[in-house]
Symmetry: C2
Subunit: 299 residues, 2 copies
Amino acid sequence: MLYLIGLGLSYESDITVRGLETVKKCKRVYLEAYTSILMAADQQSLEKFYGREVILADRELVETGADQILDGAQEDDIAFLVVGDPFGATTHTDLIIRARELNIPVECIHNASVMNAVGACGLQLYKFGQTVSLVFFTETWKPDSFYDKVMENRKIGLHTLLLLDIKVKEQSIENMARGRLIYEPPRYMDIATAASQLLEIEEKRQEQAYTPDTPCVAISRLGSPSQKFKAGTLKELSEYDSGEPLHSLVMLGRQVHDLELEYLYQYVDDKEAFKSFVEKDQEFFKPPPYVPPEDDMSD
Amino acid sequence: MLYLIGLGLSYESDITVRGLETVKKCKRVYLEAYTSILMAADQQSLEKFYGREVILADRELVETGADQILDGAQEDDIAFLVVGDPFGATTHTDLIIRARELNIPVECIHNASVMNAVGACGLQLYKFGQTVSLVFFTETWKPDSFYDKVMENRKIGLHTLLLLDIKVKEQSIENMARGRLIYEPPRYMDIATAASQLLEIEEKRQEQAYTPDTPCVAISRLGSPSQKFKAGTLKELSEYDSGEPLHSLVMLGRQVHDLELEYLYQYVDDKEAFKSFVEKDQEFFKPPPYVPPEDDMSD
């Protein structure tokens, strides 16, 4: 059996009781270690908590070494641990499809992920549209496909969750070219970088999917002991010191409810200013008023 | 301290290790018992698992008795247990705001909910639009506000999660009128009812937000030992026997990826037929081809 087990967001003890029982009985335990991190735990503390060895699975092993992970899983139980939920933003569909091909049964033990825990900021989950990802820009590579998705969400009034880039175990171009297995230190996009990149693309596209005055919520270290929310305009957040990773950003939609706003006010510097930015933003994205069709007078 | 603790989807042991430790140390433990149920546990089995008393909190207590729940929480720890995640589709914002007014610190221990675990069906979570709720129709009350939201999602190609009605501790109109505290047996909407209600509204509105041929995924008992997925058209699912509750429904969006489809094929009766329904549905919702504006020839 292959068990996909969600670890939740932060602590070793964010694993479910059923998840922990399963880890303890498995023959091998892999930890997916390249799409996210646990904020208050690492491989060593997990090994101590579980009382057993945990094998780090990097991108290469997961994407090309599925058969190695699944070796013997017809008879033995293998655990594959994923930060958040196994079916979070990144799914491990390939591994599951490969297991099925090998007639290995698969069971998933779910957990919280940013995709549902983001509700803790006070915005209603059911009013979120599609989720977008923001990658680190380079001098020559500034992908902006997220822009159209944000526009689509905002045209129909929905909130947008923006997932911020994480770079773990990346090689510099020089090291890659020379075949040197030297890795750069991990990088986690912070709120100011995300907001600045968003503003850069708006300046280029000029289609007003959002403006520097668009209200957003910065979500830092969600579910960890130092979790923090900060609400402000994109311009304000482009100068915000969000501290240690991990971070996500939510851009408000026009459908925001008074009760949601009331909840957000505890995270703003200036309640009246924030409220006026919300109203201005809502006004901009209001659908045009309904105009009944004129009678056909042609005959 | 007020602890909001998510219980996950099904088993007693779906609570996190940190959640369980917290329950054990709290002075009083409430279980929110009207917006959802644990599929493989009940009040009694939870009390046994926690080794302590669990107080059922019905809608009345939560909505009007917040001060009773929060009594003494300035000094003592109180746990409020919620099936799924505390910030799931139903948020308990009122209770949190009241706690804040009383200067009671609030901590949330997250867990999986249908809002993120739905990814287990194989569709990518980041391509879901806004979530809609479907309530039981009566002879005289058939609310269809969900219809416009489904249309909005589908126009931009997104999947839609439909949450199905749960009626717990409801009084009949007669009993309510006579002030008799007699409650109807609980009712949980099944897939066939949901699909039929959707078709009834499409027949009335005729705006083709979807058709009887629109491909959907029926999600039954998500995260429980008898979890089951079934993919088919709305028409097919209107005759599907989905078994024991709980159920949710997902309507596919045009953005569906080949890898998602590949995953869904294991849940269909006829792969080729399903594929052709998906293609037909995608064609219908394709954006119109881009036509460049004509040159202005007037001068």
